[in-house]
């Protein structure tokens, strides 16, 4: 196998008390898309860091383009043609596309000064190579995420890239954006680039990857062609146990109770133009649609963090109007936001404080917080939601994504006695934790809580929801339930409705007042 772009043999990485990589073999051939699978903490990131020169292994050998190497720095690895695209994009939002693409190698013009023109010409060449049409003068933060990602890939093409490593690139994009990314990955593959692809979405692995390597607890489970494995087999190998079923059983009978939430003709800003939907007691209602179709904004309008222009929101049959999260929380409404690190968790604080945050009143006696009660409550919640942690005093930033998410569920389950809004509840969470989260959501619904779940993962929407509303460009374009509930039906609505709605919009553009 000397034809490999990179070959790692018996790689070991030790930290005190932890062994993120235990004698791992890994090789990528040129012109191959090699998926790297494993739960969070399986060692994928460490392996990527070793290849990218960020982390030095304690033992083992690495061969790159036939020569033994030992990177001293990320810079060295990059100069040799290894480019890593991390989940969090490393772009300068205030700088132009061209400046970002050529960040390492600013082209010089006269007198050795950086030449603006040369820069834009070179950047445009690279983008053309990728087959994308992005203006080189645009600022990064003016671009949609998918384009930003293309800029990241374009950075890799400045030098000669031999190995491209993508760490969960689809966590923040969906639909057509993913297609564009895949198209470019295939193009690069056909040019002989070796590609390492990390993703939690198994569907994507089947669509794009040629080979798959599965890691578990820092050890190699195996490497094989993607076509040789079924989805079930992949999951079983990743998790180490058989998952009889990923999704918990649905309700046996459709929910017949009263609405806990009714939204009629809601209008709130440019992304929520006309939204009507409802959630019944004990029901899980999915909200599907492209990124940018207004799903999150609807949730914000209901929770009270986005101004409502017109329309009706009814809660338990009564008109509900709140401008503050505090009011919503008081009514038994919870909102588990999309980005747990930015606006969900208090990363520096202990687990217990994170659990009690919205309900300090509940543990306060005579004006003082009852520490014992706080701790007992946290321990109970940690147990109920099987959060893997040695103590409620542990800092939440040290937990894995799945466990952090479970803490958020334990927080909001106490508050959301009536309605829980979930925005991408399993983003960046490994399959084992996903399964647990699905069970938690179903358990909450069974206890009588209405759940409104926004998700970009169609299998999750289809597998967990009792009913689904599909959004496109600020409108609810359809409701799917019962036997009709399927990925294709949803995609069909989400994509097809776009043109239709635009036509309808034009009619509405008549004078209004």
């Amino acid at each position: 196998m000397s034809a490999s772009v990179i070959e790692l043999s018996q790689i070991e990485k030790d930290y005190p008390g932890v062994k993120p990589l235990d004698k791992v073999d890994f090789a990528v051939r040129p012109g191959e898309i090699h998926a790297l699978l494993g739960e969070n903490g399986a060692g994928k990131s460490t392996l990527i860091r070793v290849m990218g020169g960020v982390t030095k292994p304690n033992s083992g050998t690495m061969t790159y383009l036939g020569k033994p190497v030992s990177w001293q720095s990320p810079k060295e690895a990059r100069a040799a043609g290894i480019h890593v695209i991390h989940q969090e994009l490393a772009l300068f939002p205030e700088l132009s596309v061209a400046e970002n693409i050529l960040v390492d190698t600013q082209p010089r013009g006269m007198f050795g000064l950086i030449s603006n023109r040369a820069r834009h010409v070179r950047a445009a060449e690279i983008l053309a190579q990728l087959g994308v049409d992005i203006p080189t003068h645009a600022k990064i933060d003016e671009l949609p995420l998918a384009d930003q990602q293309m800029v990241e890939i374009a950075k890799a093409l400045v030098g000669r890239v031999r190995l491209l490593i993508l760490d969960e690139p689809t966590a923040v994009i969906a639909g057509r954006e993913v297609d564009l990314l895949f198209e470019n990955m295939r193009r690069l593959r056909n040019e002989g680039v070796g590609i390492v692809y990390v993703s939690h979405r198994l569907e994507e692995i089947f669509e794009i990857a040629d080979t798959v390597t599965i890691l578990k607890d820092g050890q190699l489970v195996g490497t094989s062609p993607v076509s040789a494995l079924t989805r079930e087999e992949m999951i079983t190998r990743m998790v180490g146990r058989r998952l009889s079923q990923i999704y918990p059983p649905r309700r046996t009978a459709p929910a017949g109770g009263p609405d806990v939430l009714t939204v009629r003709n809601l209008k709130a800003g440019p992304r929520v133009r006309d939204v009507s939907l409802n959630v019944k007691v004990g029901e899980i209602v999915g909200v599907a649609g492209m990124v940018g179709s207004g799903r999150t904004e609807v949730a914000e309008a209901i929770f009270g963090t986005r101004a409502v222009e017109s329309g009706v929101i009814e809660f338990d049959g009564k008109p509900f109007e709140t401008k503050l999260p505090k009011g919503s929380i008081g009514h038994g409404l919870g909102f588990l936001t999309e980005s747990r690190k930015d606006d969900g968790l208090f990363l520096g604080l202990p687990i217990s404080a994170n659990i009690v945050a919205p309900d300090l009143d509940g543990i306060t006696k005579h004006g003082l917080i009852d520490r014992k009660q706080e701790r007992a409550l946290a321990m109970q919640q940690i147990q109920d939601f099987s959060v893997a942690t040695p103590s409620p005093d542990a800092k939440i930033g040290n937990l894995s994504g799945g466990n952090q998410q479970k803490v958020l569920f334990s927080r909001w389950s106490r508050i959301a006695s009536r309605l829980l809004i979930l925005d991408e509840p399993t983003r960046g969470v490994d399959i084992g934790a996903k399964v647990e989260i699905y069970r938690i959501v179903r358990r909450l619904a069974d206890s009588g809580v209405g759940v409104l779940m926004i998700s970009s993962e169609l299998p999750e929407i289809v597998g967990l929801s009792d009913r689904v509303f599909v959004m496109a460009q600020g409108y609810v374009v359809g409701e799917i339930k019962g036997d009709a509930l399927g990925e294709e039906a949803i995609m069909d609505l989400a994509v097809r409705s776009v043109g239709h709605r635009e036509a309808k919009m034009d009619q509405r553009a008549e004078p209004v007042g």
Binding site: P16, G17, V18, F303, T305, L324, P325, K326, G327, S328, I329, G330, F335, T337, D342, D343, G344, L345, F346, L347, G348, L349, P350, A353, A357, P358, L360, D361, T364, G367, L368, I369, R371, A388, T389, P390, S391, D393, A394, K395, N398, L399
Partner: protein, 316 residues
């Protein structure tokens, strides 16, 4: 795996305390060796008498830093308040009962205004409080360019009074710190300061009154500056517009030495208290061995950079 890392991290604050405590002992021993007058009751009493001013401004700074801000107006505010107190009391020595509450209310109001400006204008607190500092300093100089005024004997006594041999001001300081610690740890509002400092957006989505907490933290900082100014005026007997110039930086030193993270959300008043002891003892020791105050400035700067450096590198 996580058990080990978590334990280390949990004890990180304790470790900060331990380091400071060890340094305190080292300083005390060094002081005792260098001068036979350093470890006398008289000097220790003096030392405790000096604690209150630095202690109060550092406490105020702790509230603000924990909440995720910074208050650079503290020094000017203390200076302005000493000028107000000394001149007011020179004019009407009988109105101490009025002058003190007035000073405290004014100080709190200035603090609250700082907070309001950061909330309403969404300007970075560094800029708001630096601007406020300049405004206060300039306005004070317009009124009095030189140190002046005087205070009645009874008022001066609060700086030197002793309770059972212990300086009254040190007792006040310990009580206030204890109350502040209890308030931060055990009340909803106190806890909310940590939440807001930890992640402001998350705090908002958890239904906490973020803007009010921000204003409150700055108001408390103002109030603390007010208390500091009262004791400072009592001790010096004059109002000096420039006396606070050094206090702003000095108020930050014990906070960061005590392990409170400048980004907010982590730390506490115990660390600040130990930091105040350390800085005060160090300055006293340097005075004892006749090191000029210029060196003390240099050392202060070194301490603050090293302390923050230690905390950041340990966090990686």
């Amino acid at each position: 795996m996580s058990a080990i890392t978590v334990d280390l991290r949990r004890n990180r604050l304790m470790l900060s305390y331990l380091i400071v405590a060890v340094l305190l002992v080292v300083l005390a021993v060094a002081g005792g060796l260098l001068s036979d007058r350093f470890l006398t009751w008289r000097n220790i009493g003096n030392l405790f008498q000096q604690l209150i001013v630095l202690g109060m401004v550092s406490l105020g700074q702790t509230f603000v830093v924990l909440m995720g801000g910074i208050d650079l107006a503290i020094g000017s505010l203390v200076g302005a308040l000493t000028v107000f107190l000394a001149n007011f009391l020179e004019w009407r020595p009988d109105l101490v009962w009025l002058a003190l509450p007035l000073a405290l209310v004014a100080a709190t109001a200035v603090g609250a205004l700082n907070g309001l400006l950061t909330v309403v204008l969404r300007v970075h607190p560094l800029i708001v409080t630096l601007g406020m500092s300049s405004i206060i300093f300039g306005a004070t100089l317009m009124y009095r360019k030189e140190p002046g005024g005087s205070v009645p004997r009874a008022f001066a006594d609060i700086a030197y009074a002793k309770v059972g041999g212990i300086p009254f001001s040190a007792v006040v300081l310990v009580v206030i710190f204890a109350l502040a610690g209890l308030w931060l740890q055990r009340t909803r509002t106190g806890r909310s300061i940590y939440f807001v400092g930890g992640d402001r957006e998350a705090a908002r989505l958890n239904g906490l009154p973020v803007d009010r907490i921000v204003v409150l933290a700055y108001a408390l900082s103002g109030l603390c500056a007010g208390i500091a100014a009262i004791f400072l005026t009592a001790r010096t007997g004059v109002g000096d517009p420039r006396i606070g110039a050094a206090l702003t930086l000095q108020s930050v030193t014990p906070v960061v030495v005590g392990g409170t993270i400048l980004a907010g959300g982590r730390g506490g008043v115990l660390g600040t208290f130990l930091g105040v002891l350390l800085v005060t003892m160090l300055n006293s020791l340097l005075n004892f061995v006749n090191v000029s105050s210029y060196y003390q400035w240099v050392i202060q700067g070194l301490i603050i950079i090293i302390a923050v450096g230690i905390h950041t590198t340990r966090r990686r």
